[in-house]
Amino acid sequence: MRANFVASEVSSGVRRNLTMTMAVIITVAVSLGLFGASMLVRAQVSTMKDFWYDKVEVSIFLCGKGSDTPSCAGGPVTGAQRDQIKADLESLKPLVDKVYYESQAEAFARFQEQFKNSPIVDNVKPTALPESFRVKLSDPTKYDVVASAFAGRPGIEQVNDQRKILDKFFQLLGGLQLIALLIALSMLVVTVLLIVNTMRVAAFSRRRETSIMRLVGASNFYIQLPFLLEAAVAAGIGAILAVVGLVFVKIIVIDQVLAPSFQFTTFVGWDAVLAIAPLMILVGVGLAAIAAFFTLRKYLRV
């Protein structure tokens, strides 16, 4: 193998085809960047799920004075009912991880704290807020077990799963991630087509060379290698640019803009970036390989 010779062929090929090569680099960078971004959103969703599911609890609101659901027909919850509910919750261990009771006074205190800047606080009396059991589950997905056991029982007004509210939010994020992924996939298809076209133009502009190479008995490998390397170099530069972009997003957008403004949640760490970057490069190399396979088979046969 004459490395010098192959290198000079590749560099002259890239120079001759400069505009097309630039187009390939940019398209690869953009499509892989989108792909990486959608992967990052996915990692973000799972990070947030871990973070929030860990904190969500099932709230069992007990009947108060003004409750009007059928299960509260017997008036406010009695002491016996309350004790029974607590005992039943305790019996659901280990699914039920922790149970604590929040009285009307505690609920009012928390309400005041949450809405301390709002005039609504002045209009709410402690008795308007229900007392409740806050239940932390060892497996938040098994909410139904708790719900079916307690919903509708006398003395219980309502069983609430905070996870349901979060799920809507995560569904929205998941939808966004899917859209980004679809756009990225269509961009990746465009990229493959562009690489195919670029290699076709390169094969055409070098047809004199390749026809002579065939005649003097150069191997397929030798004939195709400069084209493969051209595609690989362009795709590689594009992939590196995309990874640089991803790192940039992590440093600037996530760490410096989002994280300080939204302190109630966690954001993806460098481990996610480290996991996504090789995937992007792999996809980039794969793209070039697929494109090259189709092009070379068609236009550079011996």
């Binding site: 010098n4 190479m213 005649l215 003097v216 008995g217 150069a218 030798y222």
Partner: protein, 229 residues
């Protein structure tokens, strides 16, 4: 060296075969003129020898190998034993004379030291010493064809195929090219040359194979271009 055994070549979408049941044998060291009108099958003959085409029927043997049974990855090995020259020279315009010849060696992976040694030698054989750094467009037609012959011969092939090598040259220049091909033949390389050049064939008095409509209509040792009319 070359053996055609009832070879028929029918191209797709054509009714009449380009070669029809052609059988012939070319010995090692021979100098062959392949003559006949355009479309008589000369180019198809050369393409079959190079394994650029496969015969529709029959067998083609080159250098002891039956080309139908030659697997794809062995085709480059076959072509390294065959030099090829064309009417239109097929040089690379952006490379110098020496680079054009060296290209043929580079692309088959020969080491640089070998290339540095053999390129000047072959340029001397074809009479181009001192013009190594010229570009093809700075050379005359005859000189360009000498570069092409140098490129075809630099790997010391056992067989040289020349497809109308003097077709673009004036008679005086053609004589020089023929002397060169004759010299290469003397060095042991079998030469098969297709041509329309009557004067050259008559002058050289070598074996002439005449094709017409895909058939061998004449195979004559020490022949002339056509029958006396």
């Amino acid at each position: 060296m070359i053996l055609f055994d009832r070879v028929t070549k029918l191209y797709a979408n054509q009714e009449r075969p380009a070669l029809d049941e052609v059988s012939l044998e070319i010995e090692k060291g021979e100098f062959i003129f392949l003559v006949g009108p355009s479309g008589s099958g000369k180019s198809t003959f050369l393409r079959l020898v190079l394994r650029e085409e496969r015969p529709t029927k029959g067998q083609v043997w080159v250098a002891g190998k039956e080309l139908n049974r030659l697997s794809n990855w062995k085709i480059p090995g076959l072509r390294r034993q065959i030099g090829t020259v064309f009417q239109d020279f097929r040089l690379l315009p952006n490379k110098s004379v020496a680079e054009n010849v060296a290209f043929a060696l580079e692309v088959i992976g020969k080491p640089a030291s070998h290339i540095r040694k053999v390129v000047p030698e072959v340029l001397e054989v074809v009479g181009l010493e001192g013009k190594e750094e010229r570009r093809p467009d700075e050379l005359s037609g005859g000189e360009q064809q000498r570069v092409a012959i140098a490129r075809a011969f630099v790997n010391r092939p056992i067989l040289l195929l020349a497809d109308e090598p003097t077709g673009n040259l004036d008679p005086g220049t053609s004589v020089g090219i023929m002397k060169l091909l004759d010299r290469i033949n003397q060095l042991g390389t079998t030469v098969v040359m297709s041509t329309h050049d009557q004067a050259i064939v008559d002058q050289m008095r070598r074996r002439v194979i005449e094709l017409e409509g895909g058939h061998v209509v004449r195979d004559q040792s020490r022949g002339v271009y056509g029958y006396a009319r």
